[in-house]
Symmetry: none
Subunit: 206 residues, 4 copies
Amino acid sequence: MQSENYPDGQKRSFIEEARRAQIIEAAVATIAEAGYPNAPLARIARTAGISKGVISYHFDGKDELMDQVVTGVYTEIAETVAARVMAQSDAEAMLRAHVRGVAEYALEHRDRMAALAQIFIHARDADGGSRFGGRKAEPLYQGLEAFYRHGQESGEFRDFDVRVMAVSQQSSIDAMFEYWRVHPDHDLLAHADELGELLVRATRAD
Amino acid sequence: MQSENYPDGQKRSFIEEARRAQIIEAAVATIAEAGYPNAPLARIARTAGISKGVISYHFDGKDELMDQVVTGVYTEIAETVAARVMAQSDAEAMLRAHVRGVAEYALEHRDRMAALAQIFIHARDADGGSRFGGRKAEPLYQGLEAFYRHGQESGEFRDFDVRVMAVSQQSSIDAMFEYWRVHPDHDLLAHADELGELLVRATRAD
Amino acid sequence: MQSENYPDGQKRSFIEEARRAQIIEAAVATIAEAGYPNAPLARIARTAGISKGVISYHFDGKDELMDQVVTGVYTEIAETVAARVMAQSDAEAMLRAHVRGVAEYALEHRDRMAALAQIFIHARDADGGSRFGGRKAEPLYQGLEAFYRHGQESGEFRDFDVRVMAVSQQSSIDAMFEYWRVHPDHDLLAHADELGELLVRATRAD
Amino acid sequence: MQSENYPDGQKRSFIEEARRAQIIEAAVATIAEAGYPNAPLARIARTAGISKGVISYHFDGKDELMDQVVTGVYTEIAETVAARVMAQSDAEAMLRAHVRGVAEYALEHRDRMAALAQIFIHARDADGGSRFGGRKAEPLYQGLEAFYRHGQESGEFRDFDVRVMAVSQQSSIDAMFEYWRVHPDHDLLAHADELGELLVRATRAD
DNA sequence: GATGAATGAGCGTTCATTCAT
DNA sequence: TATGAATGAACGCTCATTCAT
């Protein structure tokens, strides 16, 4: 993540970076609490205790702010989870570690996960199309597919359709968080482990 | 479905019922084509070839219209799929028949399925909360859970957590349709069969 | 002018046409009085005694409203002036009739002329470019040039550069109205006749 | 030009004067390139490579900055052109020299001329009125009128209305530059000579 | 029953100006 | 002197809803 630099590569000052971080946090908190459709810039600014124009000053627009939220949270998740997954020795353990890892991240960063999901669902481009969903999810699917293929080639996984599996796994993980958001007392880690078991059984070789 | 009656039980006239059906169809077509955020009442009215105000006349507001779309499509799916599922003799076959059945319905009613998914994701209550997601999905989950428990009691299914399974299955099916909406050339039936296989392996007894 | 029809050719109702005319008149009055930069939609609406949204309802946006003002006034001028010009028997008389005709129109429709000038100067496209000035004035120049060439071919006009003449004549006429707007007691018709004399002397054959 | 002094007569330091000149140059370059409406202070500051606030520090506001641009360019033009005009021996030659002289200045200082025109058209007072047009142009007209009257008294010019002539000549010159700004490949000097010919014929005694 | 004109709150964005450092 | 962060009003526009006809 190089969000500390301007698009042209110039560095941002420490203070500006702090303000941006503060605004991003306010956006996360507001969206997580109220949902994306109830998080206009005015409300995010109020959460941050600043004027509405400040956001436009530090970000190119709402779109860039959302991009930064997504990039930040996403990078954080990837870093957290990747380390755990790589520490495993076989594909099955990696699968379990992936689901579990994301869940553990979410437990510690509940708002970020909730905001991420909201933004994915609701943020749209100027032309009305989804900003992050749809075809934009392709890299995500391809990453999962590469993992599956590796397991298939090593003989640990059976010969399932990797795209169907990727779509199903990703949606099941997303649904886990959404369920948890609606039912805050839900045991997220138990859910994650159970989902890991489902995925392992769905994928492993006979 | 008792949408032929007013909330107070009084019956609607045949003509009024036809108008409501026409508007519902227009809503389905518009949302399926353009997505919920790009389907204001004005556009739905234009699709129906009627005035904008007539929607407000026949429905209590956009919310009630969306309710009716959801109820109608949902009932139709349930009726179609239930018959196919009940015709099966064992739990595994029922599972496959369920996924396959929904997919076949979707193939024949693509717009309705797409509209349903869009409304589920985007429709919100006046307070900003999701109108159909969250706790509103409880009956759906309970239906799936009853089925799982039956299979577990008969020894066909292993002893998994039924709530996690219900959430995962439902989200995987929803994701299948969303993927198909974005990639219209995707082979939906093949996806459904593959997903059925995943679910069977995830649930069956050792 | 076919502003009574929608772009797709469908006819507007009488009432809608009346409302559009009312809004156009309010725009003309507001812009003429306060200048384009001081004529936001809210103020135009206030002048018309209506809500701000009404304008967006009847026009596609401020741009279309300005287009309609320009088209309407422009057409009106052209019709008025063309008749007078065509009634002349020689090029010199046509030149005088043109300037005089525009001035007489302006005397009877002061606000429209003022609004037209303001819109020409200030209205811009989404990309920031002038909406009516610049290269958009080409048809205007070409019309004048055709007239000059005709006079040159008939031997009434000398062999001047038609483009320079067109630009100079048009700007002199515009400046006449601007001067009159700033000095309301200025004798517009005398100015027009004097300008006609200038143009005749500048163009006529030796 | 006495811009080296504060309004209260106190002198500016050399450094401050240099800063003001730098900002004025940046304003000229920005307005010439992008047009007045696309030249907010932030962009002018960026062009100058300085902070936005420094403009407000050195100038009382955007209005004063624009005043200084106009005054500076205007003075420069007057000095350049006056010398050439005065070198002529008769009124007709002076007329030609005036138009030609302004054009030659513009050729060498394209940006300044373009910025001047843009500011004249777009700059407004706090009350919305034009800042330089209208009655502010009076000294300009009076200068031209004095020249015309001199020619009339000497018998070189016919007995035209000097105010109409002044307005027409000035607008024709302005339009020449605006046309040249929009069509950069336009032959400005040829246009100037042609316009000089028009003016001579329009003014000379029979 | 049906119309479509009208409303008004809310949206993201721009920008000259202010001011603490 | 200089900075750049912050402000806040104003803008054009969207849209669910209301209501007189």
